[in-house]
């Protein structure tokens, strides 16, 4: 005998699909160890043997199965779930019944068609007969053309006729409609904990005791991963705080790892960089299980730093300079000057040919010249004559360096503008100028000035070597 629990659709119950499914599975496991997660809202359990628990002596089958159904519904209601429950000799019959009839339904063996026969054929779930979507659609169209409206219409078609026209898929489907399908439940394995949690008796406000707690949880988590021959590439830390808020952090790892010490250091660096606002009352760490990294290094390839060590180093650097200032700079494909972004540092050695950044390619080797960029650019006072700069005075932000003098030679303007569809539209005129240094004894400077055309401000962007 099989029971099916169908969680009714109710947007008001506040459960997410995942939460509802977890509750349904938990509920099912309280009645049987043989549970199938059929759909997100449907579970089936094999209740053979439950009569020992739910039936008194000589009680008819229908009575104990109803009693079981009622009990399931009652416990579901206790959990805040509104469910339909059905009990039948065939799991698929139970599924169709639970999805159609409200409350508890018991279908005795042999009464399948009398109870489900008048159901609309549209309710027949093709996936239970393992029919792919395309084929299911084709059969569906045929049934519509044939005027098949109910389960019984289909069930009563001659088997040979169905087999000739719809093939084995059609036969399987017809058996499904007849309540005679044959299949094994695909059982749910009991969940393995890749989430570790601890409720604290006293709130923790310091790093050291937290470190102790984290270490304990991480050890257990890594042991679980190890037991399943898995690693993780993402750690999620959830701290419940004294003020009832939650502090969540996610650490994405470049390669799958399962070293608790590394994890601990990474978490601690992160917490130090982003500390919670109040004391901590509970700690949860979840790991995303993935297959571990398999690597074979070549004999003659220089050894790269171990990913774990590198990750810890990067975390340490991030703590020092800020997370946004660590990584590899990547030039952006735009005319916007000096536009780049920091991407995560990756230790990958590529040997592909012709993948060099076109922007960095030297197009004209004859014009090769180094340029030393000032970041940030120096604000400048520039005098112009007929639009051309003739004198410049500039200094850097902390006034430690300055440039002042007459411009003896200027080339430009070199004009660029872009991102006109965005709020941060930009436009600038650049000039390459030679500034005669007013300090005696110093040579002239070849530098680049630019004028922000929106603000009319001048800057020195850098000097040519």
């Amino acid at each position: 005998m099989f029971a099916c629990i169908y969680g009714q659709v109710s947007p008001k119950d506040g459960f997410s699909d995942d939460a509802k499914q977890a509750l349904l599975i938990d509920l099912a496991f309280t009645f049987s160890p043989l549970v199938e997660r059929t759909f997100v809202d449907t579970v089936v359990l094999d209740i053979s043997g439950d009569e020992l628990l739910f039936s008194s002596q000589n009680q008819a089958e229908v009575n104990w199965t109803r009693g079981l159904g009622d009990e399931i519904a009652r416990r579901a209601a206790e959990s805040g779930l509104k469910v339909n429950v059905s009990v039948a000799a065939n799991p698929d019959v139970a599924i169709h019944a639970a999805r159609t009839f409200k409350g508890v339904t018991v279908i005795p063996a042999g009464a399948e068609l009398s109870q489900l026969g008048n159901l609309s054929i549209k309710l027949l779930d093709y996936s239970l007969a393992e029919i792919d979507e395309k084929k299911a659609e084709e059969i569906g169209e045929t049934l519509v053309l044939w005027g098949i409206r109910t389960f019984i219409d289909f069930a009563e078609l001659p088997l040979a006729g169905v087999a000739q026209r719809l093939g084995q898929e059609g036969v399987r489907l017809q058996k499904l409609a007849q309540g005679k399908s044959e299949r094994q439940l695909v059982l749910v394995q009991p969940p393995v904990g890749f989430e570790q949690s601890i409720e604290l008796e006293h709130p923790i406000a310091e790093l050291e005791p937290l470190s102790f707690m984290l270490s304990r949880l991480l050890n257990q988590l890594c042991a679980n991963l190890n037991a399943q021959a898995l690693a993780t590439n993402e750690l999620r830390l959830r701290l419940r705080l004294e003020d009832k808020t939650e502090h969540e952090r996610t650490i994405t790892l470049p390669v799958p790892m399962r070293n608790p010490k590394t994890f601990l250091r990474l978490l601690l660096f992160d917490i130090e960089a982003q500390p919670p606002q109040t004391a901590i009352t509970s700690v949860t760490i979840a790991a995303e299980p993935v297959k571990p990294r398999i690597s074979q290094t070549g004999l003659f390839i220089p050894l790269a730093p171990e990913p774990e060590k590198l990750e810890v180093t990067l975390a340490r650097l991030a703590k020092l300079v800020g997370a946004n200032n660590v990584g590899s700079p990547e030039l952006l494909d735009t005319y916007r000057p000096d536009a780049f972004r920091m991407k995560r540092f990756k230790l990958t050695v590529t040997h592909k040919k012709g993948t060099s950044n076109p922007q960095s390619a030297i197009r004209n080797p004859q014009c090769l010249m180094g340029f030393r960029m000032f970041r940030p650019s120096w604000r400048a006072e520039v005098q112009t004559l007929h639009g051309e700069p003739v004198r410049v005075a500039a200094r850097n932000t902390d006034a430690s360096s300055a440039m002042r003098g007459k411009i003896v030679c200027a080339s430009g303007p070199w004009r660029s503008s872009g991102d006109w569809w965005r709020a941060d539209v930009w436009a600038r005129d650049e000039w390459d100028v030679v500034v005669a240094n007013s300090n005696s004894g110093q040579s002239d400077v070849l530098c680049r000035l630019y004028r922000n055309l929106a603000s009319e401000e001048w800057f020195v962007e850098g000097v040519y070597d």
Binding site: A163, Q164, D333
Partner: protein
């Protein structure tokens, strides 16, 4: 004053590589006081005609050229598929011809929409066509720039030398562009160095891509569309700055202050470029005549031969003597303008059509010519109808005449087109282009995509582009955006809106005009570049028909007209099946049946007079003679409606107001239309009479007020008109009236000759429908899509007129719809058992009469019709999704031997796909082949209900056929191979509603009862009247009607009113919805196929309509065949 001329500009006709129209470029050029400009579009002269015309108006010299893509593989650089763009300027006519031929060579060898790089000329071809052209070394895409990147100075110099070899020393200019770009400047230095070494003149250009700086945004959007990227991800595909606009000579001189010779050379080169499109060198082909004749004498002879036949003074036609004066006048002008060849070539096409039995008729202003009438080009007698020849051809206008020929759409028209190609050669004739521009939803989608909107927002944005013809004044852009949940204050949305407006009307790609053909003496490819059209065997020129006309290229429009095909096919069916010959030229002119049908607005399926608006006018106008049909065709047009001329005309016709004229002198002109100007010719004549205009000047006036109206030109003409009228002593008030009628009318007015040509076709279609309904309906169905109504409505209308319609049947139907004589076996039970069973009983218990039609005595047409000697047999083409080759294969296999079963059909036609068999089975076309059902067969014939019992009733139900189809179309496998199935199918027959749905889904039509008839019982309980009952009701009573919405209209001229046509089993009810009511019931009115309308009956002048007060959707679940909406 600095002399600088921009010699390298691209327009939007470079298709996504330029952002301004040629006119915009010229306008800026004029503002900057530049005396000339050169347009060099990418691989074409698409924009040259418009550029030339715009420049001519302003007095700027328009130099022509193109950027031509050349393969670089034979240069020293051996990299494959490198394509270089070489800017070429035309020096003289030889150069222009070479350029056109070069582009034609390139375009003709690759398919339409070839990818960049596929479309290029070889260096050898370039060398062979270099004469008369000046070559620039190009900007950043040019030959030197590319070489400079790849191989440095030496390679660049060698290529410059190569260009000199090809074009000659004086014809290569080292082009310099300065867009404030370092790389470009580095290249410029190299180019200057090479130029100095090779003694090439320097030439400054700005490589213009748009007229004004602001249009850079459009150029960037186009770049994204071209590269299928978004603005955010386009990166450096976009332009670096906005410097490629038309710069003033002063700005250019400043930019090139260090190289004044580069600026000076622009004027020097401009002065060398003698060619403009004024000097096109187009000649219309001469018609070949025997050595003892000239084209003039030949034309005269042919004209008079025809005139003697046509003007015989019989049946009210004018005498030859009366017509001769007009013919002589026309011939003299034709000879003077040397247009004999044109008339003879059109005559030759007409002769070809006549020889090949292709129906052809000239339309448009050509019908004003007695010569055209005599030559058989047109069918309307301009002498008898006193039509104005100058509307067609005048000396003053200096324009070529335009002859449009209507041909049956489809194969027949294609035959005529191919005849022209054959006769004048592939490069001697071509179709005119149709420039597809950015408009409407597609523009919204493309711009939205470029801005990176998600699909949902894109959908909302594009839905903002209404297809409604009428726009509510309150429907502001802000409101539209707000209604769609979009905030115009949002920067991106605002940007979208700006860009959407900016791309409006910019060219998107080149299409093919539906029928315009240009023909040339000699090679057309030396007049304008040719391209292959998307349709195989077709060639198009790079200009549209307006451009061709403006440049004096004569075109002949070979237009496909669905009704011509219907008339031609109807005549053929009549010939084959009725054994009668219908001569269109000699139809009885005053057929009472035709006028009776017209007066009752019983015109579904008739040409031009079937629309809802026409039908509501017909009972008022009550046509009694042919000229009334001419008026009827012309009156329901925007011109008369906007000019408020419809009601005065109808009131005068009904005697409700007196006939009066703005001035007594106009009586002769306006008498026929009761003092109301309805035709363009009348406007012309009014100007001639009132203001003393000549015919040509009057036509000039019409054009000034026509589609391309400009304020200045209108004012100028109005002054002349008023001066003339004052001279003739016409009062100021009358002058105002006359000017008012001319200005409002000239825009949309219909030429009388055109109306008359259409009226002839309308009359012919009405005659054929009234007298040969079966043939006419069959031909109409065979030529779908066409006309105003869906086939469903046409069938129902025909049935209401008593036509028996037989279903699609693989054992009898041809591919096309055919007609069957009633004598064959449709007269009742017992004549021919097979036929009888098939026609009386469709196997599923439906109540049918003995002809296969459904009995519903209440629903028959209220006016009794003479029984038709023929019934209509639906063809296999009615089955949606059945391929023509499959359908024709069924017919030809059946001709060899009848099919015995569905198995037999499948065995003999394995090419029939399963889905096709299913479709045939679902619409009942396989019923006669299906295995007999095991159930007792019941038939109901008239009042007799009985069992077929022992009769050899082979007819089965659709479900039986569907059951078998599934079996035959599947490999049974070894287990079932030999299994014989007996006793029919276990499936239940389709219900009435299922069959109706299957019919509508499978064919879009049903010969069974109208869907509304199925609801009649419940509708009766709700006191819903039938459409046919409305005419017996009083004006003003409250009434409920219900039906299937077959037409929804919101015409631009109706101030927001919406008109619906609701069809039920008895006919069509017309509904009028006020704008406020429409707003209230918009959802119901737009989305529901079946509606119940409650309102007040309007019954005036035999025109019946219901003014809606309440709208209610009807919950009828059937497959909708769609309605004719919002036109």
């Amino acid at each position: 004053m600095i002399d600088y001329i921009e010699l390298h500009a691209r327009s939007a006709f470079s298709f996504l590589e330029g952002a301004s129209t040629p006119e915009e470029l010229i306008a800026v050029c004029s503002e900057l006081k530049m005396p000339a400009m050169a347009l060099l579009d990418r691989d074409g002269v698409y924009g040259a005609a418009r550029f030339h015309l715009a420049s001519k108006k302003i007095g700027i010299k328009a130099h022509i050229g193109a950027e031509v893509s050349v393969q670089s593989t034979t240069f020293e650089d051996q990299r494959p598929k490198q394509v270089i763009s070489i800017p070429l300027l035309v020096r003289n006519r030889t150069g222009y011809q070479n350029l056109c031929r070069l582009i034609t060579l390139m375009k003709m060898r690759v398919p339409k929409h070839a990818k960049p790089g596929e479309c290029s000329v070889t260096p050898d071809e370039l060398a062979a066509h270099a004469q008369g052209l000046v070559c620039l070394t190009g900007g950043s895409n040019g030959l030197l720039a590319k070489d400079f990147h790849h191989r440095g100075h030496r390679g660049a110099q060698r290529n410059a030398e190569w260009l000199i070899d090809i074009f000659g020393k004086g014809n290569v200019y080292a082009e310099l562009q300065r867009h404030f770009n370092r790389d470009e400047e580095a290249r410029n230095h190299a180019v200057i160095e090479i130029a100095r070494r090779l003694k090439l003149p320097l030439l400054a250009t700005n490589g213009v891509c748009y007229a004004t700086r602001r249009q850079r945004q459009v150029a960037d959007v186009f770049t994204c569309i071209r590269n299928h990227v978004r603005l955010e991800t386009a990166g450096r595909l976009l332009s670096m700055n906005s410097e490629r606009f038309v710069k003033s000579p002063k700005e250019m001189a400043q930019l090139f202050a260090d190289l004044p010779e580069a600026i000076a050379n622009t004027t020097e080169l401009s002065s060398r470029l003698e060619f403009t499109l004024q000097d096109l060198g187009y000649e219309f082909p001469k018609y070949p005549v025997s050595p003892d004749e000239t084209m003039t004498s030949f034309l005269r002879r042919r004209t008079y031969e025809g005139a003697r036949l046509r003007y015989d003074g019989r049946n009210g036609s004018p005498t030859f003597e009366r017509a001769q004066k007009q013919i002589e006048h026309e011939l003299a002008l034709i000879e003077k303008l040397k247009l004999e060849g044109y008339f003879l070539i059109v005559w030759d096409i007409i002769q070809f059509c006549k020889r090949n039995g292709i129906l052809v008729q000239g339309r448009g202003s050509a019908a004003n010519s007695a010569v055209c009438y005599s030559l058989g080009i047109t069918a309307v007698d301009p002498v008898g109808m006193e039509l104005l020849f100058e509307r067609f051809l005048s000396e003053e206008r200096g324009e070529w005449p335009d002859i449009d020929l209507d041909l049956p759409s489809g194969d027949q028209r294609e035959r005529a087109i191919q005849y022209v190609y054959e006769r004048y050669g592939k490069l001697g004739a071509a179709m005119t282009a149709n420039v597809i521009t950015y408009r409407g939803r597609s523009a919204a989608r493309e711009v939205g995509k470029v801005l990176g909107f998600d699909d949902e927002t894109l959908g909302r944005l594009s839905s903002l582009v209404h297809t409604w013809e009428w726009k509510d004044p309150k429907d502001t852009t802000e409101r539209q955006f707000k209604d769609a949940g979009l905030d115009l204050r949002d920067r991106r949305i605002r940007k979208f809106f700006q860009l959407y407006l900016a791309v409006q009307d910019l060219p998107r790609h080149l299409g093919q005009h539906s029928g315009g053909m240009v023909i040339c003496q000699g090679q057309l490819d030396s007049v304008v570049p040719l391209e292959p059209a998307a349709m195989p065997g077709r060639v198009v020129v790079q200009w549209d028909k307006e451009d061709c006309a403006d440049l004096g290229i004569i075109k002949v429009d070979l237009l496909g007209l669905g009704m011509m095909a219907v008339i031609e096919e109807t005549i053929q069916i009549i010939r084959d099946d009725y054994g009668e010959e219908v001569d269109l030229a000699h139809l009885p002119p005053d057929d009472p049946a035709v006028y009776s049908a017209l007066q009752q607005a019983d015109t579904i399926g008739m040409f031009q007079i079937e629309s809802r608006a026409q039908m509501s006018c017909l009972p008022r106008l009550r046509p009694r003679k042919f000229y009334d049909i001419v008026v009827q065709v012309a009156i329901i047009r925007p011109g008369p409606i906007v000019g408020n001329m419809v009601h005065p005309y109808l009131n005068r016709r009904l005697g409700r107001e007196p006939v009066k004229y703005s001035h007594p002198s106009l009586e002769s002109v306006l008498k026929r239309t009761l003092g109301v100007p309805l035709f363009q010719e009348q406007l012309l004549k009014m100007a001639m009479i009132c203001a003393g205009f000549s015919g040509g000047a009057a036509e000039e006036l019409r054009r000034a007020f026509g589609f391309k109206r400009s304020e200045a030109r209108m004012k100028e003409v109005e002054v002349k008109l008023r001066q003339g009228m004052t001279r003739n002593g016409i009062s100021a008030k009358a002058q105002d009236e006359i000017v008012q009628s001319i200005t409002s009318f000239a825009l949309y007015g219909f030429p009388e000759s055109h109306a008359a040509s259409f009226a002839l076709i309308a009359y012919a279609s009405a005659y054929l429908k009234c007298h040969y309904l079966a043939a006419f309906t069959a031909a109409t169905l065979n030529n779908q899509p066409m006309g105003f109504y869906q086939p469903f409505t046409i069938i129902k209308d025909a049935q209401r007129h008593g036509l028996k319609v037989l279903p699609v049947d693989v054992t009898r139907s041809n591919w096309e719809c055919t007609i069957e004589s009633e004598g064959i076996g449709c007269r009742g039970l017992g004549v021919e058992s097979k036929r009888v069973v098939h026609s009386v009983w469709d196997g599923e218990g439906e109540i049918v009469n003995n002809e296969g039609d459904f009995v519903d005595s209440k629903n028959l047409h209220p006016t009794p019709h003479t029984p038709h000697p023929f019934s209509l047999h639906l063809g296999l083409l009615c089955v949606k999704g059945l391929r023509e080759e499959a359908g024709r294969a069924i017919v030809s296999a059946r001709a060899q031997r009848p099919f015995t079963s569905i198995d037999d059909l499948h065995y003999r036609l394995p090419e029939l796909r399963k889905d096709e068999l299913r479709k045939l089975a679902a619409v009942g076309a396989l019923n006669p082949l299906g295995a007999r059902a095991s159930r007792p067969l019941v038939f109901i014939n008239h009042n007799h209900v009985g069992h077929i019992g022992g009769r050899d009733a082979r007819a089965s139900t659709r479900r039986d056929a569907l059951w078998q189809v599934e079996r035959v179309s599947r490999d049974a496998g070894p287990l079932y191979e030999r299994l014989e199935e007996g006793g029919g199918s276990p499936l239940m027959p389709m219900t009435l509603n299922e069959r109706l749905n299957a019919d509508l889904r499978g064919t879009g039509i049903t010969i069974g009862r109208h869907p509304m008839a199925h609801q009649r019982e419940s509708l009766n309980k709700m006191n819903v009247a039938r459409a046919a009952d409305l005419k017996n009701m009083r004006n003003g009573v409250s009434v409920k009607v219900a039906g299937w919405v077959i037409v929804r209209q919101r015409p631009g001229t109706a101030k927001g009113f919406v008109f619906l046509s609701l069809e039920d089993e008895t006919g069509i009810a017309n509904i009028i919805v006020r704008p406020q009511l429409f707003e209230r019931y918009r959802m119901e009115l737009v989305n529901y196929p079946f509606l119940l309308i409650e309102g007040a009956l309007q019954h005036q002048d035999n025109v019946i309509s219901v003014k809606a007060r309440r709208v209610e959707p009807l919950n009828i679940k059937i497959e909708s065949t769609g309605s004719h909406d919002f036109h």
